[in-house]
Amino acid sequence: MKHKVSHKDIAKQAEILCPLAVTDLDKVPGYEEKPFKPVKPDWKEKYDFSLDGFSALALTPPATKEAEEELVNKFLRGLEKLFSQESNWTFMQPTSLSTDYCVRCNTCNEACPIYVESGRQDIYRPNYRSELLRKIYQRYFTTEGRLLGGFVGADVELNWRTIYRLAELTYRCTICRRCAATCPVGVDNALMNRELRKLFSQELGIAAEGVHKSGSMRHLQTGSSTGMTPAAFLDTIEFIEDDIEERIGRRIKIPIDKKGADILLIHNAGEYVSWPENPAAFAILLDAAGIDWTLSSESMGYEGVNYGTWYDDFQFARVAVAQVQAAKKLGVRRIVVGECGHATKAIVEIADRVCVGDLAIPREGCLPLLEQIVTSGAIKFDPSKNNFPITLHDPCNMVRLMGIVSPQRNVLKAITPPGCFREMPNAGVMNYCCGGGSGFAVMNSLNFPEWRNNVASRMKANQVLEAFKDCLDPSIPKYYCAPCSNCKGAARDSLMEHYGFRDKYNIIYGGLVELMVNAMVDVEKPFISWEDEF
């Protein structure tokens, strides 16, 4: 069912503005829907679930009228700063353009997987939250809004409900920017969403726990968002060396803190914790290709993530600067980021205008390097070893937002037998987000994961099923290649666990380097196994 919700409704008193139910959602073939669990009474008592029955932020409603007023005032002060050169030089131009020139054509709507898969709920339209921002801005900060009010659209009341629902709404969008790619004007609702997240974080101190407190703050405190300290990192590397020896029958010494190396490789540290076979595969490949590389054990030097990318310019800059400083300390020639989309975009592209002066050390993503390894002939590959259906996920950050489209495809073509690699629908720059983008993959508080798995990842589930539709039989092992740590997190939690793709269809997921090592002539045992617990 479609729940009709206008912009004005955002302020209204209602237990749940858009009470989402699984019956509202688009179907995933072969998946038996399980109704959403009722919100636990103690959560309900404490936190605000009034947007759609879910909470990503665990916000507690203000207890007094004064507290509400203070909240409203803070919000307005923050909103003003978004349009201030001094406070927001980083994104002021795109923000003001996107505020002023949307022609309200709704073209962006159908591009959004969350809007579409939710059964086209009004509140999830890409432009719903941007329009709220505009309406509030107009009402409080523009002459025409003050004078003409509703006539020019400035008709949204600002109370705690508006603010909390809007805050929650900013965490119902993965900032995948698919909507922006279809806008005829160039308006970017994803940017508007990020700006709103920024306002909440930078002015009101409101951000999802997973991206802020146990994300970028923990990163700045311990050296990694996983909480992994330098000492723990060194232990992990030893474990990976043992693991490599077991897998390929010879020991590789993983270079750590090698001064003056050509490459400092920085992984998303989540790989060490959840998918150590990925850094292991990198080590095997770089070693076999004779590349001069190193990892860093310096705090911030072994963690590639940058959660500020999704919600806070200062947290973003702090992490990026510290990462580059770690590289400088080692005197490496360049930084290469492992298989992590947002980490790559953050340090290679966005930080290009933060890391100035002596911090401007060259930085790049790993996919072109992997392509070079394949095409240079430095390693011998036997494509027949990857003789199973494979499909490729295009991480939004690397593909739509950085234009890295062909290297991963060239690698796959070189290491798989003909007919095994198949594109999923909408492959390339118009691909859909995995559902874990913008921090969703690491946001696990309250009942948010239920929303994420059911709504945000649903389109990806449908895409994967479509790609493998001719071989869904579980007797055929299949591989969903996602060269991005966050996307793998979403694959694990949503595709495998929630939708049951592993058990039902024998689909496993993993990165690109695992497939490369699996095809290496010099590696006898299969590196990828459908028996292992991924």
Binding site: C102, E110, E131, G150, V152, L191, F314, I350
Partner: protein, 314 residues
């Protein structure tokens, strides 16, 4: 009284409208252009990178010469401007009306150019441009002008009426249509509709329009028949209103594409971009959240670590 009013509208008011339009549009454009360079926020494919695609696809991309293909950029721009490519691809229902409306505008802009050109030729050549002219080019100019004007008005009116119909009937669009949206459409409908009526009833060969253009060039404003006077009044109002409305998206679009989505300019050591950013780093950011220090410079805040364990381990 009627003549005086017509003279006032066709003369002084029109000059004022043009001045306001040019000045306000320039001011808006300059304001946008002088906003600080923002952090990179590319969206691919970037047209000027051409078939080679993103520089990030190459190993050590910073060593490669930057690939800029003006031809590819112009081709993409032409598709977007002339055909409304994105609307065609992603919102065909709206394109069916939006395209005729935009095409109507383009033709009317072309028509204004042709009328002005004709006026200048009349002034210089001392020859009347009309269907009755014995000079070939004058006759041809007359035909082209009539076609551009008439087709432009019809397409524009059709497109605007269609868009109005969509906004009234499409449930999804209703919520995104405030009274001002309707007002904009009604203004355009009046502009195209009355223009069409004026052409049919008062000036089928645009001889009067050309004469009016001559009068503006020579600063000798004339009076016009009622329908044309009303049309000129509406056009003047439209010109004055345009820079303050979201209809200025035609100019903003340039910045959306070139300054945001396609702004892949890399930072070069010692370059002007680096100097610019260096300046911004001294801005005082006023954000008030606990992990920030309101009033400190950007540089200070970007290098601070609010989570750093204290030296004493607490």
């Amino acid at each position: 009284m009627g003549d005086t009013l017509s003279w006032l509208i066709a003369g002084p008011f029109m000059y004022l409208a043009v001045i306001v339009f040019v000045a306000a549009t320039l001011k808006k454009v300059i304001t946008i252009a002088s906003m600080p360079r923002h952090l990179r926020w590319d969206l691919y494919p970037i047209a000027h990178e051409g078939p080679a695609g993103s520089a990030f696809q190459k190993v050590e991309f910073w060593k490669q010469p930057r690939h800029i293909s003006l031809a590819h950029e112009l081709a993409e721009m032409a598709e977007e401007i002339l055909l409304l490519k994105r609307t065609f691809l992603y919102n065909r229902k709206m394109w069916n009306f939006s395209y005729p409306m935009h095409a109507g505008f383009y033709l009317i802009i072309g028509w204004i150019g042709l009328v002005k050109f004709g006026a200048i030729m009349e002034l210089i050549g001392g020859l009347k441009i009309s269907g009755a002219s014995t000079v070939f080019w004058a006759q041809a100019l007359n035909v082209v002008t009539v076609i551009a004007g008439a087709v432009g008005l019809v397409l524009g009116l059709y497109g605007c009426l269609g868009l109005l119909w969509m906004r009234y009937t499409d449930e999804d669009l209703k919520d995104y249509s405030s009274p001002i949206t309707f007002l904009n459409l009604y203004l355009l409908i009046a502009l195209f509709g009355i223009g069409l009526a004026a052409w049919l009833i008062e000036d089928p060969s645009f001889v009067l329009a050309r004469g009016y253009a001559v009068s503006l060039y020579t600063f000798k404003p004339i009076t016009l028949p009622p329908m044309m006077t009303l049309e000129v009044l509406l056009f003047g109002i439209f010109l004055i209103y345009l820079p303050f409305s979201r209809m200025l998206h035609f100019a903003a679009k340039y910045f959306f594409y070139h300054n945001i989505m396609w702004d892949d300019e890399p930072l070069v050591a010692g370059g002007s971009l680096e100097k610019m950013i260096g300046g911004y780093l001294h801005y005082k950011a006023q954000w008030a959240a606990p992990h920030l220090k309101s009033g400190d410079s950007w540089l200070e805040q970007a290098t601070a670590n609010p989570a750093k364990p204290k030296e004493d381990g607490k």
